[in-house]
Amino acid sequence: MFSDRSSNLTWHLFAVLAMVFMLSPLVLVVFFSFGENPHSTLPVGKLTLGWYEKLFADPNFWRALRNSAVVTLSVGVLSTVIGTLAALGIARWRATNAGAALTVLTLPVMMPPLVLSLALATMFSTFGVRLGLHTVIPSHLVFTQPFVILIVYAQMANFNYAIIDSARDLGASPLRIFFSIILPIISPTLVGAALIAMAVSLDDFIITFFTIGSGMTLPTLVWGMLRTSLDPSINALGTLILAATISSSMLALKITQYRG
């Protein structure tokens, strides 16, 4: 009995340490963004919103924000539509074929981003494609659509196809079936999948960096701040990025109940 309790204690201690390890870096960034000390060291100093004011006064921030918004929204919509269509089709395939298709379409997530981005950059430059947001969007799409496909596929695997059969027997067209039966049932999942695709796209730095040309998004702006001088408003920008990506993933997890 005693040994069981002490081993449980060890486990709980481990879990708390794991939690601290995962959270403390993020908490610190938020913490520093509201402190007066510009060196990101302790003590943080008086409470201030100065770093946010400095960030909002920077025209580059607004340019990057606009570009990030365009890319993230386009990628969110496109990967949700394309990924959902794919998942609906694959869900009706035989299990072995479906498994193979899912594995192949998920390969872009496994590929080191550096290799993929250089391959894309080389292709664009060889075929004379000018770089810009229009090259960033499809480059993001290829590694955000797997998330949508996997999430929607997981839901369609437990879908009750009998309702579709009865709707068809009653004379409903495929489009009618999609819009009045399938879509209402899976729409929470779609919202969640879209949010995850958007978080992935919003956070991407490497692929964006090599496919955007001279423009900038929020992560490339962070990169610039990290490389040049230690600009303390980086904490404020980091907090904003964390807030956007974490809140959208949390919302997505809540909505979809998706856990791996």
Partner: protein, 280 residues
């Protein structure tokens, strides 16, 4: 029949995206590794020169990168396994919170996380000032930042949520009944773990290891920002061949050499794990 066609047709847009923005660029990138540069222009060719140069110039960097990636993948997989194990078997309530936290930080803040570790591990950083004020160290520890240690810590922190996803997925599928039966029949906790739990989560173990191994072997941002002047990983060389010397062929040969080596390693890893966990 019409149905079967429709189920193939809806997959088409995803397949087209995959072909044009993944398969095609990678095939072209592979072809380029056999070409060479002349006056900053790509000239089609079929030579192994680039690969020979890769082996001559970057062999040491490759071995170092491999060691780092193996270490990072091993730590990440172990940590993810223990966290997932805790959530699945040890605690309902705190486990759910932990899972939510880990997954919520999954999709955000790649650069922000690297930056955060920079502020934690520096000589003036949080860790050193805490150790100092607790009286545990007299002088700040200088090897925490700008060292291989910093790269390992930062990448493990970044990769654990990714590894957790497949790991928890496969642990969740483990049925409770056989575990209880084994325990009732007198199996020790270790036996239950090795003979029942681990064999069932092999796919999760492999996916977690593969993902963290591939991502860390190909990363160049983390070593650049927290690795210091001596921690050069292959990604840094690939990037500098590309950006500074505009030498796509060498960069490409280097990329595919490291990818091939990674795939061979993963194959070996899969075989070894399957062998170790085979029912006795």
């Amino acid at each position: 029949m019409r149905n079967a066609w429709r189920h193939r047709l809806t997959v088409l847009p995803a397949v087209v995206t995959f072909l044009f923005f993944f398969a095609l660029p990678l095939c072209f990138f592979l072809v380029i590794s056999f070409w060479h540069l002349k006056h900053y222009k790509l000239v089609p060719n079929l030579s192994m020169d680039n690969y020979r140069r890769v082996f001559e110039q970057y062999f040491d960097a490759g071995v170092f990168t491999f060691g780092m990636a193996l270490l990072i993948a091993a730590i990440t997989t172990l940590l993810a396994f223990f966290i997932a194990y805790y959530i699945r078997f040890r605690s309902r309530r705190f486990g759910a919170v932990l899972l939510f936290v880990v997954l919520a930080t999954l999709f955000g803040g790649y650069l922000v996380k690297i930056y955060a570790w920079k502020t934690i591990l520096g000589t003036q950083g949080i860790l050193n000032s805490m150790l100092g004020s607790l009286g545990l160290t007299q002088e700040p520890i200088t090897w925490l930042l700008y060292s291989p240690t910093a790269v390992v810590v930062t990448l493990v922190h970044f990769l654990v949520p990714f590894a957790m996803l497949p790991m928890y997925g496969s642990l969740r599928g483990v049925d409770d009944v056989p575990l209880a039966a084994a325990r009732d029949l007198g199996a020790s906790g270790r036996r239950v773990l090795v003979d029942i739990v681990l064999p069932q989560c092999q796919p999760g173990l492999f996916a977690a290891f593969a993902l963290s191994f591939l991502i860390s072997a190909g990363d160049y941002v983390t070593p650049r920002l927290v690795g210091g002047p001596h921690t050069f990983m292959v990604g840094n060389f690939i990037e500098s061949q590309f950006v500074n010397r505009l030498n796509a062929p060498i960069g490409s040969a280097l990329s595919f050499t490291i990818l091939a080596a990674c795939l061979a390693t993963l194959f070996a890893f899969k075989r070894t794990v399957a062998h170790l966990l085979k029912a006795r």
